[in-house]
Symmetry: D2
Subunit: 289 residues, 4 copies
C-alpha cells in the first residue's frame, strides 16, 4: 500500500480508526469532519456496507502536537451520536506476538523471518511448543522458546501454564499447533488467536485434511487462516489460498505443496491483523487491504 | 498438446488405448511392443501408478492398411495375460453429446461455441431443458432443442421421456441442469454424465452454494465438474478451479464471478472426457492431459 | 460490490464523483462534507495517494429532490479551491458502447452476452468489422452490424467512415480488431478506446504474440486490456491475467487457452470503465474496484 | 508424484534415462523393450514430440543384481541405432549444489530449508556470496559459507576464485546473486547454473524489474527461473509464476510480494533439475513433472 512520502515530517503520528455501526447517512462526513477539524490528514480510508451494517477504517496522520489519547477522548462524542463500536489503534513496533507450534516448522520460520525482514508489524515475543524439537532454530532468531508438553492427562494444567506464558501478548498465532484449545482457555486468553488450517475450509475440517483431500480426489488443495473460536475450524476466515494438484500427487506431495500455501496464507492474515485491517462481522471478516 | 505434424500422411488412423490393471513389471513393454510389432507409432503415452493400480493411456497412429478393429481383436491376448481392464477408442467427430440445461445459459452457450470452434471433439446432438427459455438461442447454433418439463408429480414420467430423448448419446452433460436425476435413471442411461457444481466440492454441496459461501465468509469460491453418480455431488471429480473473492462481493457478484469459473471448468472436463483422457479410479479420476 | 438494499427508495439517484488532484490535507473532509451538507449518502468511497497525486472515487445517493446537475454546479467551488481535475458521472443504462472486431468472435460474443446478462452497464450500440463473417451471429443479439473493409490503400477512407459510424459512442472496445488505428483517428474519436492484446504486456507486443511466446518458451501466457494510445500496445493497462502452460502446448493450444483469458480480461476492463472505476495516472491506471 | 510403495524391496536401484532424438516410430518400443528384457520395471515414463524432435524420460527400477553401469553400457547399442542424445542418471543424495547469493536471503534460506526437509535431492555443498552478511545464518544450517567480494576492478580475479570454489559442484544456483557472470566463466564452469530473475521474462529483463513494472503500471508481477547463458536473462526458462498487483502497491510492496514468488519459482526449478526432469530444447525447456 502506498504511503505518503513527500511532504510530511518523519516524526508524524499515525492513528487508525476502526468503526462498526448501523449503516446510515453521514458517517463518513462525521468521521472525516472530525479529523479535518483537528488538522489531521486522512491518508487511507476504506468503507464497506452490508446494507445493514457499516464498516470503516481510516488511517490518519495527526497535526503537530496532537496526541492519540486526545483523539480517543474527543472521538467518544462522535461515536456516541452515531452509536458506533470503535477503537483507535496505532502502528506499534512493540506489539507482542506469541507463536504456538508443534513439530512442523515451516509456518513458524516463515513468520520469524518476516518479522526480521520488517514485513510484519510488532515483534515475536515468545514461541511455545508442546515439543522440544524447534528450540535451537528459534534461538537463532533471538526469540525466547518455551516447551509446554501436553498429554490428555495434563491438558488442563498445560493450558494453565500456557495462559501464564502468553500473559501480555497482543496476538497469539497458531502456526501448526496440533492441540485443540478449550473454550475456557480462549475465554481466559482475552486476545485474538489466528490459526492456520491446512484445507480450504469448510472442506476437510478436523484431522488429516490432505489425506481426506486425496481420498476425495480433489483437484485443488488449500489453506485457511481464521480466528480461533471454541468451535473447531469454524472461526471467521481471514484469508484462503489454493494450489492445483493432479492424480499424480501422493499425500507427501500434498503436504509439501501445502506447506508453501500454508505459510503465505498465515503470513497474510497475521500481517493484516497487525495492521488493524481486519474487522469481524459475525462469522465473516471484512479485510481492508 | 502437440501433435505430430511433419511426416505422417493426412489419412492416418489414430487409436487411443486405455488400460487399468494391477501394477506389475512389464506392462509398458508389453503394450509398446504390441504397437511396435504392427508398425504403429506411439505419439503420446502417459502412465500412472498408485503403487497398487496401474493406469495407462497410449495414443498411436496405425500403419497404412491396419484397422482399429484388428488392433482391438489382437489386443485381447495381451490384455488377458496382464488381466487388464481396457478399451480402444478413436477420435470421432461424430461423437454425440447431449446437453441438459435449465434456465442459466452460460455453460450451455460456452459449450455450443466451443464445439463450433472445433475445441471439443464430437458434436452437440441435442439440448434438453425443463424450461422453454433457451430454445431460440440454441437454434442459432443449429442444434435441436427439446423441452421436457419436470414437476414433482411428473418426475418419473419426465425421466422416461428424457431417457428416450438421450437414446444414442455418447455423453450427457449437465450444464446447470437444476433437477436431480434418480439412480434408476442413471442406471438406465448407460453412458457417462458430467455435471458442473458451483462450489469447490466437497464444500457447499447441495443447493445455493454461493449463498452458503457468502454466509461462511470464504475468501475463494470455485466450481467442480464431476461424473454424476446416484449420490448427489459426490461423483469422481474431473476438474476444479477457483477465484478469489472479498467481503465486498454480494451473492449476485458471486454468481457472476462463478459463471466465469463454471463454464471453463465444465468445458475442460468435457474436452478431456471426449479425448479419452479421463480414467475413473474409484471415487477419484486419473486425468492424462 | 455490495450495494445498499434496505432503506433507500427505489427512485434513488446515484452519482459518482471522480477526483484527481495534488495530495494535501483536507480533501476527503471537503468532499464528504460537501455531500453531507446536501443530505446525500456516501455509499462507497475509495482513495489512493502516490504521495504526490491524490485520486478519489465517491459513489453517493442524493437526497430526494436533489439533482446531479445541481451537484455538478455546486461542486465547482470545492474543486476550484482544491485545484481538482474532476468529473461527475452517473450509472447510465443507455451508455453507448461500440465494438470493433475482425474475424475472431470470442471477445465479441462474450461482451454481447454479458450486456444481455446485465453484467455490463450500458448497451452495445453497434458492432463494426472489417470482415462480413460475424454479421449473422451479431444479429441474433439484436445489435446493428456494419462492415467497413480496410485495405492498405483504403485505410484513410475507412477510418473516416469508421469515425462517422462511431459518432455518439461513449466507449469504443477493440475486441480483437486486427487493424492499427492512426493517431489522427484517435484524436478525432474523442472518447476512450479499450483494446485487448493477447500477451502479458510489455512482453510480446506487436504481431503474433502466441507464436513469440512459444518460441521464447515461456511457462505463462497472458492477456492485457489497455486504453488505446497512438503508440501500439503501449497505453495504460487496465487489467491483465495469465494462464500456466507447458512445453506440450502447440500454438493452437495457446490460441485456445488464450481465448479464455482474453475474454475475461477484456470484460473486466470494460465493466470497470463503464462503472467509472478507472482513473488514468500517466502511463498507469488507478482501478477502484 | 506417486511412487511405488507396496511390493518392491527397499534396496531397489532406480535409474532415469533421458533421451532426445529425431522423432520416428519405434522409440518407445525400443526403450521399453530394453528395460523389459533385463527385468527392470518402468515406474514412470513421459514423452514429448515437437513433430520433429522427440524427448523421453523413463524412470525404472532395476532387477536384483543389475547395475546402472551395466545398463549404461548396454544402452549404447540402442542409442546408436536410433541416433539418440541420452544420459542415464540416478537419484543421488550426494549431488552437490552450490548456491551463489548477494545480500537478499529469501531464496537462499528457502533452499537451505527445503534441502533440510528432504524436498530437494542432493545437498547444499557451499554458499558463496560477494558480501559477508549472510555468513551466520548459513552456518546455522551447517553449510560452508565463503565470501568472494567482487568489484569492477577485481571481477576477473573474483571469477577465477569462484571457479575454484565451485569445483566439484553438480549444479550452481544463483539465488539472487547480483553479479553478471562472464561467458568465459560459464564455459569454464562446465555444469548447469540456474538463476532466478524477478520478472516474468521476457518482460523487464535487466536491472530493477519491480521499478520497471511499477512505471509501466502492470497488473501482474512475476518471477522466472532459467538456465544461465552468456546472454543476460535470456536462457531457457524452467519455471515462471506471477501474482496480481494493483495501483496500491509501492515498489517496496512489489519487492515483498515478489520475494514470495521468487523463492517458490526457484525452488521448483531446482527440484525438477535435480530430479532430472528438465531437458533443454534450444531456447526452450521440456519439463517432465
Amino acid at each position: 500500500m502506498a504511503a505518503h512520502t513527500g511532504e510530511y515530517p518523519r516524526t508524524v503520528t499515525t492513528v487508525r480508526l476502526l468503526v462498526t455501526c448501523r449503516d446510515r447517512p453521514g458517517i463518513v462526513a462525521a468521521v472525516s469532519g472530525f479529523f479535518f477539524a483537528r488538522a489531521a490528514n486522512i491518508v487511507d480510508a476504506e468503507q464497506h456496507s452490508t446494507g445493514d451494517r457499516f464498516f470503516l477504517r481510516v488511517e490518519a496522520t495527526l497535526a503537530a502536537g496532537d496526541q492519540p489519547e486526545r483523539v480517543r477522548d474527543d472521538f467518544v462524542r462522535v461515536a456516541g451520536e452515531l452509536e458506533m463500536d470503535w477503537r483507535l489503534a496505532r502502528p506499534d513496533p512493540d506489539k507482542r506476538v506469541a507463536i504456538l507450534v508443534s513439530r512442523y516448522d515451516h509456518c513458524l520460520l516463515d513468520l520469524l523471518w518476516r518479522f526480521e525482514q520488517g514485513e510484519l508489524e510488532g515483534r515475536p515475543s515468545l514461541v511455545v511448543s508442546n515439543h522440544p524439537d524447534l528450540a535451537d532454530r528459534v534461538q537463532t532468531f533471538g526469540v525466547p522458546f518455551k516447551q509446554i508438553p501436553v498429554t490428555p492427562e495434563t491438558k488442563r494444567e498445560a493450558e494453565r501454564e500456557l495462559l501464564q506464558a502468553l500473559e501480555g501478548a497482543d496476538l497469539v498465532v497458531l502456526a501448526r499447533y496440533m492441540q485443540i484449545l478449550s473454550g475456557s482457555f480462549l475465554d481466559a486468553l482475552g486476545v485474538p488467536a489466528i490459526n492456520i488450517h491446512h484445507s480450504f475450509l469448510p472442506a476437510f475440517a478436523g484431522a488429516s485434511p490432505y489425506q481426506q483431500a486425496l481420498e476425495r480426489g480433489v483437484k485443488v488443495i488449500g489453506a485457511t487462516s481464521h480466528y480461533v473460536t471454541a468451535e473447531l475450524d469454524d472461526g471467521p476466515i481471514v484469508e484462503q489460498d489454493v494450489a492445483h494438484v493432479t492424480h499424480r500427487e501422493s499425500v507427501d506431495d500434498l503436504l509439501r505443496i501445502g506447506r508453501d500455501i500454508e505459510r503465505v496464507v498465515l503470513a497474510r492474515a497475521v500481517k493484516w491483523h497487525l495492521e488493524d485491517r481486519v474487522l469481524v462481522d459475525g462469522r465473516r471478516t471484512v479485510v481492508f487491504r
